[in-house]
């Protein structure tokens, strides 16, 4: 009851006309910045901090929460419309979002993304309210061994992202890990596969690979088909049928919960959450084999997941004062500048601020839905641009995003290289998603594995004797079982067919 009273007081602060205006401004600015590749929530918030200076702290936090939501949604917009995921958290959205746009259902895909984001945000805020202090204790107990288990669990998604030929999916994932290992080895400082190029010392950024193998490769594919078969404008109805709403609700709810819990863990964040939500849904859905061809469940699950995770990442920030992601680190900086110090004492000493932040996140989530649903037809108009103009514009969009990230022409060459690789992969039915998954999780997995072994003095049993990593690894093994069984069944069926054909 006490929680409810405090939340109501939080809302009374957050709902003033001035605060509502700023959350509106925040969401709009966040969406616009988020659409640009490479400029995710972190950059969006950093850019808006100067605007927040001098504001009343609550108003400023409300606006920044709006920017955060808006930027995450903006990333999904470019994923769906152009197959150009600007940030890692929205890669999974493009798997089904872009095929939907290609079928002339861009409006629906964006509407599903907006609604699922809202569901993810809402479930996340409720979770934050109810179990934040308890969860934060569990999150702190996560060491490198536990993270290693989590990363392995995340990597098992490869098999569900691999498509029909698991070997090709695994090859993609291994190449992704190989790309992730380029650069200075963080544990020893050794240079690995940098070919004496200083530009490679810090590794190859995710954005270069993602824009190359998704957006640029798609440009090449469209050109090889003479412009036929890309995303189609025109049919941009947002209206979801009752059947579609029924189909998207359970994945959105499951994705939200999964996303929230993943987001609580520092470092795991929205990317792992979105991949896990997507692959879980693909495994349990009765129409799982249609994932990747424009299934709305495949848009709802990762979108709810990444938004749930965005809120989940506030748990360690607000209860422990520990930012679990780059975005929350920037937010922590903003809060400190505004004179608010998050941490264990915040809930006791400044309950008004804590609940004000919670209420403001909720309002940000609602405003995002109200603002973006009417804007969707406008966004979807991008697809009406003639292909002859749209294709070079997508190239410019990618080049601008990559250059803005590193100010290096070398990275632009890498972008083109990955574009060609992505095109050849598409032409030969190699899935690009496992490559991205391997790239994102591979490096993290190696780092955590080595840290865990360093702590255990080289004892490998640490991964099975500690309860959390053991459970996570067991879950990873269990999640592979249905695929292995499916493969065996398919092979048997094929063998049977093989016998039948000569007989006929």
């Amino acid at each position: 009851m006490d929680t409810l009273t405090q939340l109501v007081s939080g809302f009374s602060v957050a709902l003033s006309p001035e605060n509502l205006l700023f959350v509106f401004v925040g969401v709009l600015a966040g969406t616009i910045i988020g659409i640009l590749p490479g400029l995710g929530p972190m950059t969006a918030i950093a850019l808006m901090i100067p605007v927040a200076f001098g504001m009343d702290p609550t108003t400023a936090i409300i606006m920044l929460a709006g920017v955060y939501y808006g930027a995450v949604f903006g990333g999904s917009t470019s994923s769906i419309l152009l197959n150009a995921p600007g940030i890692a958290g929205t890669v999974a959205t493009s798997f089904d979002g872009y095929p939907m746009a290609r079928d002339g259902r861009a409006g629906k895909a964006l509407a599903v993304a907006a609604i699922a984001s809202f569901v993810g945000g809402t479930v996340g805020v409720v979770g934050l309210m109810l179990i934040a202090p308890t969860l934060s204790k569990v999150a702190v107990s996560f060491g490198p061994a536990e993270y290693f288990g989590l990363m392995v669990l995340g990597l098992t998604a490869v098999v569900s992202l691999a498509g029909k030929n698991v070997t090709k999916g695994l090859i993609s994932a291994v190449v992704g890990v190989i790309v992730a290992l380029v650069g200075i080895d963080s544990a020893t400082g050794t240079l690995r596969f940098t070919f004496d190029r200083p530009e490679l010392y810090e590794g190859i950024d995710f954005l270069i690979v993602a824009l190359g193998v998704f957006a640029l490769a798609e440009v090449f594919v469209l050109l090889s088909r003479r412009g036929h078969g890309g995303a189609q404008g025109g049919v941009t109805s947002l209206r979801l049928s009752k059947r579609e709403v029924r189909a998207m609700t359970p994945p959105a709810l499951r994705g939200s919960v999964l996303g929230f819990f993943t987001g609580v863990l520092p470092g795991a964040g929205a990317t792992v959450a979105s991949f896990l939500s997507y692959s879980t849904e693909k495994r349990i859905a009765s129409d799982g084999d249609t994932f990747g061809t424009g299934n709305i469940k495949g848009v709802a699950a990762p979108e709810a997941g990444n938004n749930g995770a965005a809120i989940g990442s506030f748990v360690p920030l607000l209860t422990l004062g520990v930012p679990g992601s780059g975005t929350t680190a920037i937010l922590l900086g903003a809060l400190l500048v505004l004179g608010v110090r998050p941490g264990p004492m915040m809930l006791e000493q400044h309950p008004g601020v804590f609940w004000g932040v919670v209420a403001s996140m909720y309002i940000g989530s609602i405003v995002l839905l109200i603002l973006n649903l009417p804007l969707i037809p406008l966004f979807a108009k991008v697809l009406n641009t003639p292909k002859a103009v749209l294709l070079p514009l997508v190239v410019v969009f990618c080049v601008m995003g990559v250059y803005g990230l590193s100010f290096s022409v070398f990275d632009l060459w890498l972008l083109i290289g990955f574009g060609v690789l992505g095109f050849l992969m598409r032409a030969n039915s190699f899935p690009a998603a496992p490559l991205i998954l391997g790239l994102i999780l591979g490096g993290l997995m190696e780092r955590n594995m080595r840290q865990a072994l360093q702590i255990s003095g080289g004892d490998w049993s640490v991964f099975v004797t500690k309860p959390i990593p053991a459970v996570l690894l067991a879950l990873a093994a269990a999640s592979l079982l249905p695929t292995v069984v499916g493969l065996i069944r398919r092979r048997r069926a094929r063998a049977d067919r093989g016998w039948e054909v000569p007989a006929a």
Binding site: T190, R192, T293, L391, V395, V409, A427, N428
Partner: protein, 171 residues
Amino acid sequence: MTEFRFSHRTIAVAIAGFALVYLLGAYHLPGFVAVDVPVQPATLPRGLGYLLLGLAAMLFFQRAEQAEDETATDATATEQPAEPDEVGLGRLRDTRLELAVFLVAACLYVALFAVAGFVLATAAYIASTAWYLGYPRHLVTVLTSVTIPLAAYIGMSEGLGVALPNGPLPF
């Protein structure tokens, strides 16, 4: 895209070749001897190299109909046949040449990006590509190729503080 489709055996050999070169590189990585570390920097790369080699072998020995079958299904699922009277992009009959032209254009754009500056390189790239791909409304092409780079340049440099190369232009 059929021109760029190779048999699974050719791809497997190419991947195996890459894996061997990668393994060679992995074996040339220096060991870390300053302090005792449980996992050397070269351990995972070596493991990955062997794994990739194994996967390439698996792909090589996959039954041809399995690999080809899947390629064909995928192609029919994604490729939509063009209407006979619909005008396609580009000018050359051979798709391989067409893609090569587009790739060279993108490479020229990147090469000129820092030298000519963002605005000039982008304007030239958009205008020439849209014209080459057959967009008929030249006034719209010119307007797009001038306004978009300018708006993007001003937005990125003034609004977001991202400095794009200005080339010979004074701003």
